[in-house]
Amino acid sequence: MARLHEYQGKSLLKEAKIPVPNGGPARSPEEAKALAEEIGGAVVVKAQAWVTGRAELGAIRFVDTPAAAAAAASAILGMQIKGYLVDTVMVEGKLDIKREFYAGVIIDDQSQAPVIIFSRIGGSGIEEIAEKYPDAVVRLVIDIQRGLQDHQARDLIRQVGLHGKLQLSLGNLLTRLYGVARRYDARAAEINPIVLTPEGKLFAADCRITIDDYAVYRHPELGIEIAREFDRPPTELEIIAWQVEKNDYRGTFYFIQLERGFSPGEGMIGFHGAGGGGSMMSMDAVLNRGYKLANFVDTSGNPPASKVYRAARIILAQSGIDGYFASGSGVASQEQFHSARGLVKAFMEHPLTVPAVIRLGGNAEERAMAIMERAQGEIPAPIESYGKDDSPEFCAERLDTLIQNYRRPTMKPAGKVHPEPQDPYTFETVTNGTVILDHAACLDCETKICIDTCVPGILSLEGEVPMLNITHEQAKRGGCIECLACEIECYFEGNQGGHIILPIPGLDRV
């Protein structure tokens, strides 16, 4: 889920007329100072990081003057908090606290509806509070059609013994909070604490809003870089991977780095799963052998070969891995040779220099395994491939054995390079790829295997050479599904007529 920073969340609350303290974000001590001057009086300087317990870590500081605010900002900016580099602080007027409350909206899987939760005791440790004082906490399932009605909100507040003007203003705040959650497709929206000042005013002192990944596209105004949950800023590779996913709606590609800065010999495995359940079991199998996972990748939902190729290239960009493990559910509905072609292309180009075990069980697995086997001679490191009758545990054991017996080459071998085409016939693909058929090579080709194996059947023989039987525009709009047959199958037949360039923007820089 895409989490918003406190200052981003507060701007949404403010827009919905929920009072927030005076203030805003600052990215330098000077900005912090200027904000503090503008606010006047005592302020609080808070690190913007998705971690709990900021105060104990010294990442929240109360100061009395603008100069002290600048100093606090310079101490906090650049801090590493639980792996998170702080690049923004929030400077706000300090609130006088008379009392604290909690309010939150979450989606409840059991009632299949949003639920609003209110606690008459708020502040840090809300979970423990709720456990210790169950009577302080009330909840209500919200009717998605009608939304949270004002009277329902007030009655909820009444149930914890709050009356009068306070009941009215808290009720108001709850309906507005639900409004924000609904409007921005929030999976969760919490204000903790809601502060009551001695003057009787309510303020949202801190908030946590998480937007539904699947609805991020509806809210470009939020500027969410990657619609995925991270408890730290995304890495360079993760941003590259997200661009691949964003620009290709076919199937799902998910990439997250679990370890960084490791070297060969530390037992890190590049992990390539397919499907959540199968991936989890496959990860368990690798972990049980004493290895660690450098990353988690899932390519599933019938992805094209090109997406699997790009995923593999991104996994291999983690240079310290000791092995490559690809394994899904074992009995996949999708036709597995697409994935096999994607893997093989990546392994030949990048050249794979660590052992790999590829578990490809499912539809057309024989064809998929044959492709892997055929590629073995082209790749410097050992690869084994397995089908649905081989368990993840067995495959992990095989990988272990291969790694134990493998000696890494001291020099990195060169990858497969395509000869310069003599008579190129080219067209573009849906992900900005380019298919190049070298008609000079095709003339001498006996099998013309690209024509039979092109999955959508968009290549036909014209004269002695393969050409598109659809327009270039149709091919670019997705007619060419990037099944990679015209490169891989052609190459395995001993020809080099077909070549597909699939750019991965930014990967060369890593």
Binding site: M1, I107, D109, Q110, Q112, A113, P114, E127, D143, I144, Q145, R182, D185, R187, D212, D213, Y214, A215, Y217, R218, R228, E229, D231, Y249, T252, Y254, I256, L258, A274, G275, G276, G277, G278, S279, M280, M281, M283, D284, L287, F296, D298, S300, G301, N302, G328, S329, G330, V331, A332, S333, Q334, E335, G361, G362, N363, K388, D389, S391, P392, E393
Partner: protein
């Protein structure tokens, strides 16, 4: 018997003219599902694999007669409108295959379904398959594979993972254990027919003698199944495996559901709660077939 789908059900495919819609409609037809109509707005009048295509669900209903089920192969942003269309037309079971459907859209679909007594499987589901009878969605991928992988028998299979749905059925079949129906409940946090609902359907199906469940960390579906067992609402033996033991708290994998929220939803919490009420929970997926065999034997259920 079987649950949710068999040969008698009349099935509509929404989005039948798309890439997935066409391929999966063929799978369903070849496996034995009665696909009687398709709908794609603006493409009415065409035919796909001999199935007539209409512009609206209402029109399809008027032209071919009552529709029991609609299977949706629709881009996620417009799933809500397609699902509401089917519900409004009177379809009582929806299978929502696409993933990435916004959660508030799912809540609206759930609300509309509740009001009219309709149900839905998914979103983000591979579908439902009753071996030897019919399939909704895309379990098996190809009819020939589905026929060679699955066969009828006494076990009901329910899974939160698509790939694992087929894997479980296949590995059980290798031990000679057939299934009444395979249900992939869907990978999202909010799904129309979660484990507890599917388990209740299996409970009332006379041919289902035992239930095999693949659970996952996150959410409360497995705990709810335990509640049903404790309340004696479900009395058939259950064998379960919970995936995600190694998952780090807070790390979310591609199943939106696999989020650890407080105590509820953890691997340990689920396993303990299920065992407490007498459900057999195996430690590794590989033990599942043997454990199921043992349970069947213990209860005197023949294969």
């Amino acid at each position: 018997m079987s649950i949710l789908i068999d040969r008698t059900k009349r099935v509509l495919v929404q989005g039948i003219t798309g890439r997935e819609g066409q391929t999966r409609a063929r799978l369903m037809q070849e496996y034995g599902t009665q696909v009687v109509a398709g709908v794609t707005p603006g493409k009415g009048g065409q035919q796909v694999n001999g199935v007539p295509v209409f512009d609206t669900v209402q029109e399809a209903w008027e032209m071919v007669g009552a529709l029991d089920v609609s299977v949706l192969f629709i881009p996620a942003p417009i799933v809500k409108s397609a699902a509401l269309e089917a519900i409004d037309a009177g379809v009582k079971l929806l299978v929502i295959v696409p993933d990435r459907v916004p959660i508030f859209d799912v809540l609206e679909i759930a609300d509309a379904a509740k009001r009219t007594g309709a149900r839905f499987v998914g979103p983000n589901t591979l579908g439902v398959l009753s071996p030897g009878k019919a399939v909704l969605g895309m379990i098996g991928g190809r009819a020939a594979s589905a026929r060679s992988w699955f066969f009828p028998g006494p076990v009901g299979i329910t899974s939160r993972s698509g790939g694992i749905t087929s894997s479980m059925a296949y590995y059980l079949a290798q031990e000679g254990i057939g299934a009444t129906t395979l249900v992939h409940v869907g990978g999202d946090v909010v799904v129309g027919l979660p484990h507890p609902e599917v388990v209740k359907l299996f409970q009332s199906d006379s041919e289902t003698k035992a239930i095999v469940m693949f659970g996952e960390i996150g959410g409360s579906q497995e705990e709810q199944v335990a509640d049903l067992v404790e309340a004696d609402e479900v009395t058939k033996p259950i064998v379960a495996f919970i995936g995600g033991k190694a998952a780090k708290s807070g790390t979310r994998f591609s199943h939106a559901g696999a989020i650890i929220e407080g105590n509820r939803g953890t691997y340990k919490g689920k396993v303990e709660r299920l065992r407490e009420v007498g459900v057999t929970v195996v430690e590794t997926f590989g033990e599942l077939p043997q454990a199921t065999l043992a349970i069947l034997k213990k209860h005197g259920i023949s294969l």
